[in-house]
């Protein structure tokens, strides 16, 4: 086995170009997961059981089934109902939806960590439920859970290669193409692995920095 460094150097630009799709998918997926997750968390806490229970069931179902199959559903099943999505869009929605169930659990933990007294104080000041949430609860719930949210973003980033299964030309797909064309798999795949490793290590360090800043802000 020889690792051809020259070849690796040669294909690196192609891989980095495909990485842009990977990063775009991660960013879009993150937006969906962060916003939808908060909505799901709020819905689970709703006083009406007709809202809370189905949402809880939905969240558990999505969390307990594979992301790949969910992507297939969006890509293959929706068209039968008349909804045709571009591969990138289908993939990003699947990612966002899947991870929104994880972020909703994180938000729930954050919200439940707020002392009862905050809710009482808000009620005493005549805030309605929405205002309490928006101005009192959420601003306090988010900072402690930022590291956990950050970790899920990194996980989502590592799941973007699944998009290759629904024909999105992200970085793993590009590596496979190079391999199929040149019959050299070791360089492209190792480079992709290394790219992921470097980016997730940088992100992990970044999350720690954010964690420190937030902790310092509190003190």
């Amino acid at each position: 086995m020889i690792f051809d460094w020259a070849f690796a150097w040669h294909i690196l630009p192609q891989l980095v170009k495909a990485l842009r799709i990977t990063i775009a998918a991660t960013v879009c997926g993150t937006l969906i997961a962060m916003i939808l997750g908060l909505a799901l968390a709020a819905a689970r806490r709703a006083r009406s059981r007709w809202l809370a229970w189905p949402v809880a069931g939905f969240v558990e179902f999505i969390r307990g089934t594979p992301l790949l199959v969910q992507m297939y559903v969006l890509f293959y099943v929706l068209p039968e109902a008349g909804v045709v999505l571009a591969p990138f869009v289908a993939g990003v929605i699947a990612l966002g939806l899947h991870y929104s169930t994880y972020t909703s659990e994180v938000y729930r933990a954050g919200i439940e960590g707020i002392p009862r007294g905050q809710w009482d104080a808000a009620a005493a000041l005549n805030f309605n439920r929405w205002q309490t949430f928006r101005h009192i609860i959420v601003p306090q719930a988010i900072p402690p859970v930022v590291p956990a949210l950050g970790n899920y973003i990194v996980s989502m980033f590592k799941d973007t290669p699944l998009l290759s299964a629904i024909t999105v030309l992200e970085v793993l797909q590009q590596a496979k193409l190079i391999g199929a064309q040149t019959f050299r798999y070791i360089e492209p795949l190792t480079l992709v692995g290394a790219l992921f490793l470097v980016l997730s290590l940088i992100s992990a360090a970044g999350i720690r920095v954010v964690e420190h800043r937030l902790a310092r802000g509190k003190m």
């Binding site: 089934t65 992301l67 297939y72 590592k158 299964a165 992709v192 692995g193």
Partner: protein, 220 residues
């Protein structure tokens, strides 16, 4: 329009393969998690650094990328593994890296006084670890281990992309053949969900059994 009964046999075959993969990879994951988790805490450089490297690399890279790497690159090293073994190995090592952190955390969470009592009784470090620390740590490991096992189950769907005929692969093949996408995917989603619930239930049962020894004092 094939009746539901015709869809079942190939999916059942796929289900069996999924279960085999999950069990095999789980065994590898548990072994790797303990070796790396304990190794991570070792005083010896030659144990600690490889453990850290393994954990960081397998946690820091994508499971699907690891799968492809094992499938395409390992043969070049002379390791001609079947797709099934390559898949089991990749998934097992991936889950094992996350498991190593669970093992490490649980061991570090055992109260310091336990280690001190073992020193006071002049136990060797190996005896302390194996007979005092690990048995107590195992209970704390169970809930996160349950979650990791469910992640592993979900990851088995990835091996469909290296042509292993597990459940998702079979579903894709059936979809192409019958175009009954809705029913097929609904069916396998339910199957996966049912398996997730079974894993959770088993882990909770195991927790209950082990904790009873500690809380109510059943004579063993």
């Amino acid at each position: 329009m094939a009746p539901l009964t015709e869809l079942i046999p190939p999916l059942a075959d796929g289900l069996v393969v999924t279960i085999e993969l999950t069990l095999g990879a789980a065994a590898i994951a548990i072994g790797a998690a303990f070796v790396a988790g304990v190794g991570r805490l070792s005083r010896h450089h030659w144990l600690r650094y490889p453990a850290i490297a393994y954990i960081e690399i397998f946690r820091g890279t994508s499971a699907l990328v690891q799968l492809f790497w094992f499938y395409f690159v390992l043969p070049l090293f002379g390791l001609n593994l079947s797709a099934m073994v390559a898949g089991m190995l990749a998934l097992g090592l991936n889950t094992g890296a996350y498991g190593a952190e669970v093992v490490r955390g649980a061991i570090q969470a055992v109260p310091r006084g336990q280690r001190e009592a073992a020193v006071a009784l002049n136990m060797t470090r190996a005896q302390t670890l194996m007979r005092i620390i690990v048995p107590q740590a195992v209970i704390a490991m169970l809930p996160p281990a349950g979650n990791l096992l469910i992640e592993l189950l979900k990851n088995t769907s990835l091996v469909s992309l290296i042509a292993i005929a597990e459940l998702t692969f079979r579903a894709q093949a059936l979809r192409a053949a019958t175009l009954q996408t809705g029913e097929i995917f609904a069916l396998i989603l339910i199957l996966y969900f049912a398996m997730s619930l079974m894993i959770m239930g088993t882990v909770r049962w195991l927790e209950g059994r082990l904790a009873r020894g500690l809380d109510h004092g059943r004579v063993r």
